[in-house]
């Protein structure tokens, strides 16, 4: 099918460009590794009951960092499409018979691949620090961040293409991402918070996803938390993918 062929073609081009300049992939990975090394040891001093986890604190912390990686890694990809748009590359592609949806899908695929590689490195570093989790849980966690990345990257590209200015895009993304991140209980469990904060935190979809990932890391695969997490992650991916694709396939741009 030509959509798949076109997507793979765009993917290969973007992957080649990313590998030519791998600094960003490494910088993106530096942040969660710094958290792991410089913040993780603080958590290990807390009683594990506070973190709602058994075993050690990294079972709690690594899922959170994976989501943080996914959140930052994929919401900021829209920057790249702004410079592509400015270079005239998007317009050039849109005048060829290539699938307009593939222009987005190929990029999203590249971002997902990048993210999975980064996530694997992060988990390995976590293991070095003392993380012990079931292998199945690690893969379930990857599944979650793939869903998160597909949705967020799509919507980020679409937003970048609509906004067309880095100066507006950066504050916009920060305004949305930082509150969502804080309300997701990445660094400390939301259950530590007062009632109102716990209530507010219910609006963050990432809250459900992180909870589900933590359940998996505890070896719990079949319960309501898991179902909620999967539903939220899949729902968000589908909705955002659809929104993003609408911007790319429309006739006027």
């Amino acid at each position: 099918m030509s959509f798949i062929r076109d997507t793979l073609m765009v993917f290969r081009r973007q992957e080649r460009l990313a590998l030519r300049n791998p600094a960003w992939v490494i910088i993106g990975l530096m942040q969660p590794i710094l958290y792991l090394a410089l913040f993780g040891p603080l958590l290990t001093r807390l009683p594990t009951a506070t973190l709602g986890t058994t075993g050690n604190a990294y079972k709690f912390f690594v899922p959170g960092l994976l989501i943080q990686l996914g959140l930052f890694g994929s919401t900021f990809v829209g920057f790249a499409i702004i410079s592509d748009w400015r270079a005239g590359v998007i317009e050039r592609f849109r005048v060829t018979p290539v699938s307009r949806l593939a222009i987005m899908a190929g990029r999203v695929l590249r971002d997902v691949v990048t993210l999975v590689v980064q996530a694997a490195v992060l988990v390995l570093v976590g293991v070095a620090f003392g993380l012990r989790a079931p292998v199945a849980a690690v893969f379930i966690g990857f599944g979650f961040i793939v869903l998160v990345a597909v949705g967020l990257a799509s919507v980020s590209y679409a937003t970048g293409l609509l906004v067309k200015s880095e100066d507006s895009f950066a504050p916009l993304v920060n305004t949305v991402v930082v509150p969502l991140l804080l309300l997701s209980g990445i660094f400390l469990p939301m259950t530590l918070g007062p009632g109102w904060l716990q209530g507010v935190a219910r609006i963050s979809p990432f809250r459900y996803i992180i909870d589900a990932m933590r359940e998996a890391y505890q070896g719990q695969y079949f319960n309501t938390i898991m179902v909620e997490g999967i539903a939220v992650a899949a729902g968000m991916a589908v909705l955002f993918l659809w929104l993003g694709s609408r911007v790319f396939v429309r006739e006027n741009a």
Binding site: D6, M9, A87, G88, E91, R92, F93, T96, V98, N252
Partner: protein
């Protein structure tokens, strides 16, 4: 039927409270194998028209057939058959990625048109030779000179051997040498390959040198079309300036009686005549003066430029209208973002 046939093509933009009619019914008929120039002041609707014809913008009214495919019903068919080279100066650039290698860009472009790998290599190799890019295959796009990068962008538009190629301001921002070099390449597209070239330009000289036919657009409608020579002849006529000793009143009277003279003014022994086909009229005029024993001091014949044509038709000179200037709509209103690329 021509390779471009457009009827009543129009585009309105709605921004906040206003509706801007960027293009208000354009009719175009372009034959095969011509180089056609599309001229107009900023905000006249040039880029909007071009974007409609290349499927980047859906017309709000009108119909068109481009390279044999219906613009509205079969935009994919249009995309398969046309090449498009975006303008290089403005909010967006010419379409090459600074971090790509020259060869990669050509092969990727071939991929976008679904060429097989062996065909892609063959086309890339051929175009590298044709557009003087030999030796630059492994260079990053960002290290190319302006002229080299522009040639690469044109090569990208030709990868799939389209019968029709759109060039948006192909030479804007290039130094004079690169510009005339590019003119040669564009000229060769028509003479060697029979490609129809539809280009927009700010440079009247470019239209004059390069184009078989010129369309002038103003306020969203075509106000004139024809060969550059036809347009000049139709609109302005040639200006003959004569200096005579003393008897300018008599000379003026004599010349005014000649059928070829459209207009005449005389002051201080200088006669300014507007005539049709000056080079043919001049000998006869000189004989008339000679016959009356009037002595000439000097003669000057000046042909109108396309700029004179432009000025007559649009009330604006294209020369004052630098490409970097902010675009203004018909009523001096800024056009919405999508249309400000002229």
């Amino acid at each position: 039927m021509g390779i471009i046939e457009a009827r009543g093509l129009a585009r309105t933009f709605k921004s906040r409270k206003r509706t801007v009619e960027a293009v208000r019914g354009v009719d175009l008929s372009v034959g095969d194998g011509q180089i056609v120039g599309f001229l107009g002041p900023n905000g006249a609707g040039k880029t909007t028209t071009l974007r409609m014809l290349t499927t980047l913008l859906r017309p709000t009214a009108g119909t068109a057939t481009v390279a044999g495919a219906d613009l509205l019903r079969d935009p994919l068919g249009v995309r398969k058959r046309i090449g498009y080279v975006p303008q290089a100066i403005g909010p967006t650039m010419g379409g090459t990625d600074p971090s790509c290698l020259v060869l990669e860009e050509l092969l990727d472009q071939a991929g976008l048109y679904h060429l097989r790998a062996d065909q892609a290599h063959q086309r890339a190799e051929l175009l590298i030779g044709q557009l003087d890019l030999t030796g630059l295959e492994r260079r990053l796009v960002k290290t190319l000179s302006g002229g080299q990068r522009r040639r690469l962008e044109i090569a990208l538009g030709l990868v799939h051997q389209p019968p029709l190629v759109f060039l948006d301001e192909p030479t804007t921002g290039l130094d004079p040498q690169s510009r005339s070099n590019l003119w040669e390449h564009i000229g060769r597209l028509r003479s060697d390959l029979g490609t129809t070239v539809f280009l927009t330009t700010h440079y009247l000289e470019e239209a004059d040198v390069l184009c078989d036919r010129v369309f002038i657009i103003d306020h969203g409608v075509i106000v004139a079309d024809g060969t550059p020579d036809e347009l000049k002849r139709r609109i302005s006529g040639d200006v003959v300036t004569l200096r005579v000793t003393g008897e300018d009143a008599a000379a003026s009277k004599l010349l005014a009686d000649q059928a070829v003279v459209r207009e005449i003014t005389a002051a201080d022994g200088t006669l300014k005549l507007t005539v049709e086909r000056g080079e043919q009229a001049l000998p006869a005029l000189l004989r008339v003066l000679d016959g009356a024993g009037i002595t000439l001091e000097s003669i000057n014949l000046s042909r109108p430029t396309l700029d004179d044509v432009f000025l007559t038709l649009t009330g604006r000179s294209l020369r004052d209208d630098s490409p970097g200037q902010a675009s203004r709509g018909p009523a001096g209103e800024p056009e919405p973002a999508v249309a400000t690329k002229e």
